[in-house]
């Protein structure tokens, strides 16, 4: 491991500055993170959600006590069909299934509202990929972070307003009586949440993904008017087929790139080089250092 250590003299009181061997490594120039949310915006959003959910009374009804698999386990189902009631892990996220028509007495109180919502990271991710969401809210208490980080790039590339709301999980999961709700997405043309979306969107700080913003700066991220005629989307959910959307419309993307004028080229900026110095991990078990003569 010919790590070229660049000795960094650590300013220490004791006379000889002990040089600490550090390994330099090329760091990721972009740091993709959620844009911070002001305090009163956060409260405002939480109140709206609580008020709205109380009105709708969307409840997660527990299935009867006998233990049977309430959901039909679909073959090749990519989605995680974890039984809702099991799992005491503090980090557990709901993957309620897209309820199909026959199973009426689902665990949810009313179905239409449930369809306008995407609850759970996987469902939000899938909906975002199919670009059906108008707004995405993510809870700040997620640990480790990489579970929801991919949502930043996803929503930015789909130009969907998204933001991280601290303590989202406690408030909303209590209402929906779920264990925890880490990600919440509102369908683009949902009727019942129309005014909520309108209210929240202006509060949502614009997302900044460095390499994405360069090319589409002039396109405003925030404004989304959900009042577009909510034409019922022809959404035939394959009864048991793969949920992933089969892209049927091939849209030539040349009109996409064609419209870009030269104006935005100047915004392309090369992020400066970031070098990270790391002290080698003493705990890491090394190959017998003894016989391999150091220098």
């Amino acid at each position: 491991m010919a790590a070229h250590h660049t000795p960094i003299s650590v300013g220490k009181a004791s006379g000889k500055a002990k040089t600490v061997q550090t390994k330099t490594s090329f760091n990721n120039p972009y740091n993709i993170c959620w844009s911070p949310l002001e305090r009163e915006n956060m409260h405002y959003i939480l109140e709206i959600l609580q008020k709205r959910f109380k009105e709708l009374g969307l409840q997660k009804k527990e299935p009867p006590t006998r233990k049977r698999r309430p959901r039909i386990c679909t073959k090749g189902q990519k989605g995680d069909n974890k039984d809702p009631e099991e799992g005491s892990w503090d980090v557990m996220q709901e993957v309620p299934m897209e309820s199909s028509e026959e199973e009426q007495h689902q665990g949810w109180s009313n179905l239409e509202v449930r369809k306008q919502l995407a609850i759970g990271i996987n469902e939000v991710t899938r909906a975002l990929e199919k670009d059906e969401l108008g707004l995405v809210l993510v809870c700040k208490s997620v640990k480790p972070v990489h579970m929801t980080n991919h949502l930043i790039q996803l929503s930015c590339s789909r130009a969907v307003p998204a933001c991280q709301v601290p303590r989202l999980s406690e408030n909303v999961s209590a209402l929906l009586c779920l264990k925890s709700v880490l990600a919440l997405g509102f369908m683009r043309n949902s009727e019942s949440f129309v005014n909520e979306i309108n209210a929240i969107i202006p509060k949502v700080p614009p997302l900044k993904v460095p390499w994405l913003d360069q090319t589409t700066p002039q396109q405003d991220v925030v404004q989304k008017d959900p009042e577009t005629p909510a034409k019922e989307t022809v959404q035939c959910v394959a009864p048991d087929g793969d949920v992933k959307l089969r892209g049927s419309q091939k849209r030539k993307n040349d009109e996409v790139t064609g419209t870009k004028q030269d104006s935005d080229i100047s915004q392309v900026t090369l992020h400066p080089l970031k070098i990270k110095r790391v002290v080698p991990n003493p705990a890491k078990i090394r190959k017998q250092k003894g016989n391999k003569k150091k220098k």
């Binding site: 650590v10 600490v20 330099t24 980090v91 990489h146 790039q153 790139t257 080089l273 990270k276 705990a283």
Partner: protein
């Protein structure tokens, strides 16, 4: 701050290539081969000149076909179940199907991200903290 790094030009080049790959992908999402080529070159350079890449960079490059893993364009991210208790995030590269798995273990912090890994961190504390070995689980992608 990286003034006296040994081969600064090579690092500059890695930096350029990484951002070029992103830029090409951003302007024309169809152009995955080109982004893949840039990441391939980047990987080659760092292998040949023995330059270390930070896990944050390595996690965005597919090991098998070294294409840029951008969730939503070239990769899909799902939370999957592994052993009863544990849950993991799976990043699946679309062009070659290779998956990268990260355990959702709240207490695990990459060594690089730890405070005591930074050189400026006063040496004294780093001794005790390091003794409590981070649970090194093999599944976590380096």
């Amino acid at each position: 701050m990286a003034t006296n790094v040994k081969d600064k030009d090579a690092y500059l080049r890695l930096n350029f290539l990484y951002q070029a790959a992103h830029c090409v992908l951003a302007t024309n999402p169809e152009n995955v081969e080109l982004a893949r080529f840039y990441c391939h070159t980047e990987k080659n350079i760092s292998k040949r000149l023995v330059l270390r890449q930070d896990p944050s960079v390595k996690r965005t490059i597919c090991k098998k076909c070294c294409s840029l893993l951008v969730p939503g364009v070239t990769a899909t991210v799902r939370q999957r179940k592994c052993r009863q208790r544990q849950r993991k995030t799976v990043v699946r590269c679309l062009s070659c199907g290779k998956t990268k798995q990260f355990l959702n273990n709240p207490s695990y912090v990459l060594w690089g991200d730890r405070p005591e890994s930074q050189p400026q961190y006063p040496q004294s504390q780093s001794k005790q903290v390091a003794t409590q070995k981070p649970p090194v689980n093999s599944k976590t992608a380096r």
